[in-house]
Symmetry: C2
Subunit: 358 residues, 2 copies
């Protein structure tokens, strides 16, 4: 079988399939250089549960539940430190307006039965003393964790190769060029040109800071804040890195703009003043593979026997990696589609006029 | 003769001396990688005329007056485009407080007879329509020009080599290791360890933006602004680059901090809103060679026959390059010290107890 795309999704599928005895070739001229290179790695089924995305929320929750075992298995297979942390996420509103906006979403999430617990400012600062004193309120999402996507991709490469998969540094221009019984399109935004799927680039800009002096950041939770109307997240790594993100822009370029860096830094420092003294070590932009309903495209392509999609993961590629890999590998090796896949199959975009990508 | 340091000062001295027939070797393991790599390249004898620095102001003015001929000669010798621009500088106060602070300095500069002309907000925007509408006032300094320091250094390397100088990629740890009749210490901050001179690093952080689409920036003057108490300059290049600088910090590291980038970008965008849409292409920090009186150290070292200093140029290395090169070359080739040098000789730091660097 062939996998097009050596991001986390493609590599995890290759790992799973190779481990089950399939002969797998993963094609990518630049493994791990796509959306995952920029991603912060939040595993956030709760904070990412938005109005009107009920089915996606279910998939996020199912995949997040698989993360502890997935991380353990990957670490066991490779010895790699994934930067996997389960300290949980603090949701924070800086001003009264920010808090009012955030509370509407938290109420929705609580209504779904998701674990999100409101906290008073004093309770927030008990958990994270580095938060700005003017923070007006927040909440705790204990099951929203994090992993370092760059470490994840490196580990998945090792695991896939150790399981017997081959990495081919070749660009694939046409699926018909591949000589494989089964082909998985895990090419992120590239799935549009390659398979005609309704995947569009959604630009995200990110700033990476680093605690000075080689120490860990002065906070341990992922912080997701609303700061004067700006949505920002702060993801602290044990190695001192803090990822500050991210813009969401309907653009196809990967330039970093003055405005994005200014807005991200302003919101970050407003929420956590000590970040002002951190080193700014990287500014970077990437393209998420967005879809019309913000949900991934998983499963067989109509009218294209032997071709499966595993793309369109948008903001959720890292958290959705385990469930995507498991279900696609199951489908390929057993022929049985898990019911979880049903809402996400490619044929949901087929119109009455027929398959839009034929 | 030997020159230690291949920044603009060392290279210009080498060029001048080689052109007069001296055999010159310039020692530097990383030419052009010091303060000049970070510098914006403002040639600003007027805007840099500060209270209590009368003699330095005289040297800045003398060197600025040499710049047109120096640039023409260097371009003639190399064919290089130096990014030399004579559009002049707009001095801008964003708020009433900013303007009050700025006006005290402008009055001082006018009192010295320097060309600085107050402008009303409407006059400012006539000259530079891209300025923020809330700018409260400003002034025009027509003789404050700019050059691109990276292009300058590249051209000076070419000119020095064409004139017969040799570049040696060797680090010099001790002056006594050099086998030369005359040695010029043009090593920036390195002059402290090398010659015991009272030169200390003064950190400066800078952000480089670029106009999107490969066009020139939407403004042509250098802008020096006071923005809510923040001092910032914006230097537009024909090739689309805009240098935003700079912090002045008594620190010896060259890390870029979140706070510096945030403050520079905020002030820049407040003064010139269109910069928000520019690409952020570089963040960088460097170390200026500062001295106790903010003036350079030029001339023979007491008690060290054949050793001359040309360092300590602090914020003014680029504008002071022509006068430094001319006067040091004159001194070496004729033995006659120009009276301009008198206030800047190394012996001004000698105490009654004797030479502090013996």
């Amino acid at each position: 079988m062939a996998v097009v795309g050596a991001g986390p999704v493609g590599l995890a599928i290759a790992w799973r399939c190779a481990a089950r005895g399939l002969r797998v070739v993963v094609h990518d001229p630049a493994p791990g250089s796509g959306a995952s290179w920029v991603a912060a790695g939040m595993l956030a089924p709760v904070a990412e549960a938005y109005f009107g995305e009920h089915e996606l929320t279910g998939l996020l929750t199912a995949s997040a539940a698989r993360w502890p075992a997935f991380a353990a298995e990957l670490t066991e297979a490779t010895g790699a430190d994934l930067g996997y942390r389960t300290d949980g996420t603090l949701l924070v509103g800086l001003t009264a307006d920010d808090l009012a906006e955030a509370r509407r979403l938290w109420a929705y999430q609580q209504g779904l039965g998701l674990p999100v617990t409101p906290l008073r400012p004093s309770e927030l600062r008990d958990r994270e003393p580095a938060l700005a004193t003017r923070v007006r309120g927040g909440a705790f999402a204990p099951t929203d964790h994090q992993v370092d996507p760059r470490r994840l991709v490196a580990a998945l490469r090792t695991a896939a190769v150790r399981a017997g998969a081959t990495l081919a540094p070749s660009a694939v221009d046409r699926l018909s060029d591949l000589d494989a019984g089964v082909t998985v399109v895990a090419a992120g935004c590239g799935a549009a040109a390659l398979a005609g799927l309704p995947v569009r680039p959604v630009k995200g800009q990110v700033v990476r800071l680093r605690a000075p002096g080689g120490v860990a950041p002065g906070f341990r939770h992922v912080i997701r804040g609303y700061a004067d109307g700006e949505h920002v997240y702060l993801v602290p790594r044990v190695d001192g890195e803090v990822v500050v993100g991210a813009t969401v822009e309907e653009r196809t370029d990967t330039t970093v703009t003055a405005e994005a860096v200014l807005r991200l830094l302003r919101a970050a420092v407003d929420l956590l003043p000590e970040l002002a003294g951190y080193d700014l070590v990287e500014t970077v932009a990437g393209l998420r593979p967005g879809t019309p309903d913000n949900a991934p495209i998983l499963g067989p392509l109509p009218g294209r026997p032997g071709v499966l999609a595993a793309t369109g993961h948008h903001r959720h590629g890292i958290v959705l990696t385990p469930v995507t890999a498991d279900l696609i590998a199951d489908l390929i090796t057993t022929g049985v589609a898990d019911p979880l896949l049903a809402p996400f199959t490619p044929d949901r975009f087929t119109t009455e006029e027929g398959n839009p990508w034929n």
